[in-house]
Amino acid sequence: MFIAIAIVIGVASLIGGYIAIHHEKLSVAVIASGLVSLFASIIFLLLAAPDVAMTEASIGSGLTTLIFFYVLNKIRQRND
């Protein structure tokens, strides 16, 4: 059971990572990267690490993504 979840999430995170790196649209890429972190926090739960999972979810997928968006936004403003 856990193995199946692990495989699914593992594959999902790799796909997310691939999208993050290769998608042309930066916003999509940033969201994909946030998703990778989210999947990672699920993996941490699987590994019996709730603390890490919480941190990854709040900081890795939450704050980091937001900061990315802020910066992207600034860059876009400049390009306008």
């Binding site: 603390d51 919480m54 709040s58 802020y70 400049r78």
Partner: protein, 234 residues
């Protein structure tokens, strides 16, 4: 193209290194020597139910101090890189009008978020979570406020004061540990209390509170700085 092939080749060897690592990894059947010690003595020595917290705050407290310092550094660097000037807070600067809905939602939700954040770091020694997670939650509250009202000036002064005081407090607690107990950041400055209580685990809750405040302030500072920076014309 040649470069891509080169990179793939290089990464293939990196993969080989990882394969070596993977081969070396045999899983675990039992805890390591150090972990075993923590499992056996953590609760009695530190008094924190959450062993991760016990390690982060006490056994490896110096790391945490370093970690807090890193965020502190980042915030400081970002603010001096981005030339955080007073003019940036001029209220008539923004042209974007945000929705009323978001604005009023923010007013309701933000205090709740803050409460959640405080809860997380106050209970760091009991449940999963702690100063960093709580700090991050608080920072997201600040973020929401900024999103709701772009003209909302993050009061730099308030943040700075919170940040400084909590930082100094952290250091002071550490030093008090030397003076009153067994060493820098010694946990037994305060009584350990009963395992599982809110007011237990020595200074862990205190430290985590300060860490939470500090991290929250630092992250808010970073976000605030980035969001307020003007497109300098130079």
């Amino acid at each position: 193209m040649i470069k891509k092939i080169l990179i793939i080749g290089v990464l293939a060897v990196v993969g080989l290194i990882f394969f070596d690592l993977f081969n070396a990894y045999q899983g675990n059947e039992s805890l390591s020597k150090t972990a075993n010690y923590y499992a056996e003595n953590g609760a009695s020595q530190v008094g924190a139910a959450n062993l991760v917290t016990a390690i982060v705050v006490t056994y490896r407290g110096l790391d945490t101090l370093g970690e807090v310092t890193i965020l502190f550094l980042t915030a400081a660097i970002i603010s001096f890189i981005l030339k955080f000037r007073e003019e940036d807070f001029m209220p008539n600067r923004s042209v974007r009008v945000t929705s009323e809905l978001l604005d009023s939602a923010a007013q309701v939700i933000v205090p709740v978020i803050f409460m959640v954040g405080v809860y997380i770091f106050m209970n760091g020694h009991l449940t999963p979570g702690g100063g960093f997670q709580g700090g991050a939650v608080i920072a997201s509250g600040v973020l929401l406020m900024i999103m709701a009202n772009p003209n909302f000036g993050v009061s730099h002064k308030v943040i700075a004061v919170v940040e400084s005081i909590s930082g100094i407090a952290f250091v002071l607690i550490g030093v008090l540990g030397i003076v009153l107990a067994g060493g820098f950041l010694d946990n037994t400055l305060l009584p350990l209390g009963k395992l599982g209580d809110l007011f237990s685990a020595g200074v862990i809750p205190v430290i985590y509170t300060f860490v939470g405040l500090k991290v929250g302030a630092e992250l808010s500072n970073i976000i605030g700085t980035i969001s307020h920076v003007q497109n300098e014309k130079n």
